[in-house]
């Protein structure tokens, strides 16, 4: 069974316009990096370029000079010490000197955030410590004095300490320096396993380029002037580029290695400004296309991404009077997209909100509300929202005012003072079971977070501390909504702002299954125990016209019959009635649970089989095999007088397969009809 919604795959840590340094003196500026869960990010760069400074800054050891670090979607400065200790663990180059501490004791200090006020270890803590020691192959060091073991062993113990802290992110500063090859490989392999098994995100600085190439998913190169390049290790770490990064003389290189580093070799994409910002370069750097059925399709962006980009542009204009034409942003799936934005003229804040907007809060600055819009590009899989204008309007508000107008407006603990409202063309939730409470605008969680972060990053950059009202609206959204699932989902008055990945993958099966799931979940939430399912329009018409049933609570399952049966079982339904035409449902007789013709045809094969089973002659089978659709096959059966027998046989086979698929107490009934012959029977 498919798990509910797949885990959100947005970047676990990302930085915006960060400057790092000591005592107010900037060492590295414009640091933009991100790492997803389960990924390893390697920092490469010459000595003194500021790798350690960056690592210390993103882990809260060092105060940021500029910018923001977002951890798990929240501004890190807003995360308390204890909570941070459960999220991030460190292995730094500082040598530690202990007194009378065994290796077990050293690893056990990582349990600090989890133990009580006297720090006493519970059995569970001891088990975790022992497990961490085992993971780094150091169980036998457990009782040894930490001071009396070798450097390589110490490094392993400190890594065990990191693991015992059960973090979501491990940050390591040159963990492999001073280790011999065996220990280097061992340590990096442990990190790889951690990333894979536990989904831990890993950021580490290292000098060994070859190892970085092997172990990391992405490398960030820090040069003399800050972050230089970022990308996949094979693309970035070309000999030519490394010479440039480390300032190696070309002749020296040739003399030493006996070959030319190939300064022109390797097509490396110069690192773009990560995060939000302008960029004059061309289109998406990588991954802008997806292969589907042997054809390259261009990816598009979600309404959520559009809204976040527009909000960013509007904020830049509002607070900093900058006119952006394009915003480059990292989507929650970790891909970079470039989005064109333009000013939108006309008041878009909802009528009753207008009066809380202040116009001259900031001294000397014109703070008229600003609106920007993005024309949605759905890529090569145009949906109804393709070409729609997604508008974000921002204005200053005094958040200390307690106003009744603040109803149904989103706020976010991590981004205090920012209010997010839905304007015209954005749907309003009227039913239970959705991500939003009733009455709120249909802006989903991930887009909400993207918008809050975009707005807050500009607010931080501008040093503005007051309140901001963001209103998202969609031009003509109300009309578009009729063509979407929204009316069935109980969302009225417009489309939804959604997208968990930020990117639209053409013909996304997952999106369809997700929508079916939302409907089933809602019905379950309303206490329904029986489910009416039709594959599509034919089925719906038949249900309404012939069976006389109401379609209000009917679920359209398209071709995903197996998935729908699964979900009905999972959400505790007791009965499921599937009504559809033979052309589709006959496939169930062979256990084909996704009835899309792309997956399998087999209609005539099944007909032939059952014909033969019911005494059809070889010649009949041959003739049957040539039929082009089920209706013509039924014609033949009538002709031979085998109609009822074969239909019975097929329906029995359908029942066997649906029964096998249905889990728990779910009882599936299938009603099959034909355009021409009407009701055929029930399985």
């Amino acid at each position: 069974m498919k798990k509910k919604n797949t885990e959100n795959i947005s970047s676990y840590l990302h930085t915006y316009g960060m400057a790092a340094g000591y005592g107010g003196k900037i060492v590295v500026d414009g640091v933009g990096l991100y790492v997803n869960k389960g990924e390893i990010l390697a920092l490469i760069g010459p000595n003194g370029s500021g790798k350690s400074t960056v690592l210390r800054s993103i882990t809260g050891q060092l105060e940021l000079i500029k910018g923001v670090v977002f951890l798990d979607g929240r501004d890190m400065t807003g995360i308390g010490r204890h909570e941070l200790a459960r999220k991030v663990s460190l292995l730094m180059t500082d040598r530690i000197k202990t007194e009378l501490m065994t290796c077990f004791d050293v690893v056990a200090t990582a349990r600090y955030p989890y133990t009580g006020s006297f720090g006493l270890l519970q059995d569970e803590d001891r088990r975790i410590v022992r497990e961490a020691l085992k993971r780094v192959n150091a169980d036998e060091l457990s009782d040894r004095d930490f001071n009396l073991i070798s450097d390589g062993q110490k490094q392993r113990i400190l890594l065990a300490r990191c693991i015992a802290q059960e973090p979501e992110l491990i940050v390591l500063d040159e963990p492999t320096s001073f280790l011999d090859i065996r220990y280097k490989i061992e340590l990096l392999q442990i990190l790889k396993d951690l990333a894979r098994d536990k989904g831990t995100a890993v950021i580490m600085s290292m000098h060994e380029v070859d190892y970085a190439r092997q172990v990391s998913d992405r490398v960030v190169c820090i040069g003399r002037k800050g972050i230089d390049r970022i990308g996949k290790p094979d693309e970035v770490l070309t000999p030519g580029y490394l010479c440039e990064l480390f300032g190696i003389d070309r002749e020296e290189y040739v003399k030493f290695f006996g070959e030319d580093p190939g300064f022109k070799a390797g097509t490396v994409n110069k690192a773009l400004q990560i995060g939000y910002g302008t960029h004059e370069a061309g289109k998406q750097a990588e991954g802008g296309y997806v292969a589907k059925n042997g054809r390259l399709l261009r990816k598009g962006i979600t309404t959520g991404t559009c809204a976040a980009a527009a909000a960013y542009g509007a904020m830049k204009k509002l607070l900093m009077n900058e006119d952006l034409e394009r915003v480059s942003l990292i989507t929650p799936s970790g891909e970079r997209v470039e989005v064109d934005i333009k000013p939108y003229y006309g008041q878009k804040h909802a009528g009753d909100m207008v009066n809380i907007i202040q116009k001259n809060d900031r001294a000397g600055k014109d703070a008229e509300p600003v609106s920007f819009c993005v024309v949605k590009d759905s890529g090569d899989d145009p949906d109804v929202t393709n070409g729609a204008k997604i508008i974000a309007s921002v204005g200053l508000v005094d958040i200390t005012i307690k106003s009744d107008n603040f109803r149904n407006i989103f706020t976010d603990e991590s981004h205090p003072g920012i209010l997010l409202a839905g304007g015209e063309g954005v749907g309003r939730v009227t039913g239970e079971g959705l991500e939003q409470p009733v009455g709120y605008p249909a802006i989903n969680k991930v887009p909400r977070r993207m918008i809050f972060e975009a707005v807050d990053s500009v607010r931080n950059e501008a040093g503005y501390e007051g309140g901001i009202l963001v209103t998202v609206s969609v031009e003509g959204g109300e009309k578009l909504a009729d063509k979407t699932f929204n009316p069935q989902l109980g969302i009225e008055g417009g489309i939804s702002i959604l997208g968990t990945s930020g990117i639209l993958e053409p013909m996304s099966d997952k999106a369809i299954v997700d929508t079916i799931e939302v409907q089933i979940r809602q019905l379950a939430a309303r206490g329904k125990k029986s489910l009416l399912v039709t594959p599509g329009l034919y089925g719906q018409n038949y249900v309404r016209n012939e069976l006389g049933l109401s379609l209000d609570d009917a679920v359209k399952c398209s071709n995903f019959i197996g998935d729908t049966i699964d979900m009905a079982g999972t959400y505790g339904f007791e009965e499921m009635l599937l009504v559809g035409n033979l052309g589709k449902l006959i496939k169930l007789a062979a256990g084909i649970m996704n009835t899309h013709s792309r997956v399998a045809d087999g209609r005539m094969d099944i007909m032939c089989t059952h014909l033969a089973l019911c005494g059809g002659t070889s010649n009949m089978v041959k003739e049957m095999y040539k039929c082009i659709n089920t209706d013509s096959a039924l014609d033949k059966l009538k002709e031979w007088g085998l109609f009822d027998g074969v239909m019975d046989s097929i329906l029995t086979a359908i029942r066997e397969h649906t029964d096998r698929r249905a889990i728990s107490a779910l009882k599936v009934t299938v009603k099959v009809f034909s355009e021409k012959y009407g009701y055929l029977g029930e399985a």
Binding site: L100, M101, Y112, S117, G119
Partner: protein, 339 residues
């Protein structure tokens, strides 16, 4: 394994507590007037016995033993806190000159009160000592901020000690009063002359402060791993540092206010206790150091009183004889390990 260490700790704690009890009784019974154990117990219970013995025990020996017990423990815990703060086992209130600073301000307060005709109460004395120890402490911290090396800090501490002692001697020399003898005795360090009102104040101060230190054991144990890792697991380092300094200063100030400077207890006892328990866990060592310090001072005070009776030695003389070799052996051991 966990079971075994737990049992071992319990055993050592029981033995130490027992020894403290035995030496308290010995301190009460032994002296220039010998009092049999039975009489001592009876008089403590307030029953019969001759007046003389009862008065010697309840007015002189018992408060003195309690002072040795409490102040010895306080001094040892104070030393342990400083060692944790500096992450160095040689740090201690006497070695770093903190006791000497306290001694100076207490002497000034005493002399001023004598010549101006008012009396300073026990709490006043602690306050004066606290001011002195904080001044020396801040000086040491300022130096440690500039130079990280422990040897420099210790030299600094010794120099502060000399300067403070010189000024104290100077003040005492020019003070004119019959109490000068007492003052002189105090400035060398002694538990004599402790009265019940002193005991009340010192027990309140010491018990509250040591308990506070005990509550800090968890962050202290994380702090032993260094700033980076301590911060990483969520320790508020700045706050912990301030608390360590405050608590250790109050403890050593209390000792100095009542007994004058007592040398080496703050370094030698924590070291011995650590070797005994074979751990550096503050949760074990804070109570361990307290009991160890009590025991050590009870023993030393017994020797100071009885060795050349009726002449009394200063407590520092005895603690130095036992404590200094421990410190020297410890430094040699560290030197060996380093090479």
């Amino acid at each position: 394994m966990q079971e075994n260490t737990g049992r071992k700790y319990r055993l050592i704690f029981t033995l130490m507590a027992l020894m403290v009890l035995i030496f308290t009784v010995l301190n009460i019974c032994i002296g220039s007037v010998g009092i049999p154990f039975k009489d001592a117990v009876l008089s403590l219970l307030g029953r019969k016995g001759d007046d003389m013995a009862v008065r010697i025990i309840t007015d002189i020996r018992l408060p003195r033993a309690i002072a040795a017990l409490l102040l010895g423990g306080a001094l040892s815990v104070s030393g342990f806190l400083l060692q944790t703060f500096f992450r160095n086992p040689i740090a201690g209130p006497f070695i770093l000159g903190i006791s000497s600073g306290a001694k100076l301000t207490v002497a000034l307060a005493m002399v001023a009160s004598l010549s101006l005709g008012f009396t300073v109460g026990s709490l006043g004395m602690i306050a004066a000592a606290f001011v002195g120890s904080m001044v020396s402490m801040l000086f040491v911290l300022a130096v440690s901020g500039k130079v990280g090396r422990m040897s420099v800090l210790i030299i600094c501490g010794v120099m502060i000690g000399y300067i403070c002692s010189a000024i104290t001697d100077f003040v005492i020399t020019f003070a004119d009063d019959s109490n000068i003898v007492n003052l002189h005795g105090w400035s060398l360090g002694s538990f004599s002359g402790t009265g019940w009102d002193h005991v009340r104040v010192m027990s309140a101060t010491v018990i509250i402060t040591v308990f506070t230190a005990f509550l800090l054991s968890k962050p202290m144990s994380a702090y032993q791993m260094g700033d980076v890792y301590a911060k990483n697991v969520g320790v508020n380092i700045r706050l912990l540092r301030v608390l360590l300094i405050l608590v250790s200063s109050i403890l050593s100030a209390t000792v100095t206010a009542f007994a004058g400077p007592v040398s080496f207890v703050g370094v030698a006892v924590p070291h011995l206790v650590k070797s005994l328990f074979k751990t550096s866990k503050p949760l074990v060592l804070i109570p361990g150091c307290f009991l160890g310090g009590s025991l050590f001072c009870l023993m030393c005070d017994l020797i100071a009183r009885t060795l050349f009776a009726p002449t009394e030695l200063s407590i520092s003389t005895v603690t130095a004889v036992f404590g200094a070799p421990v410190v020297i052996i410890m430094m040699l051991g560290r030197g060996k390990k380093a090479s």
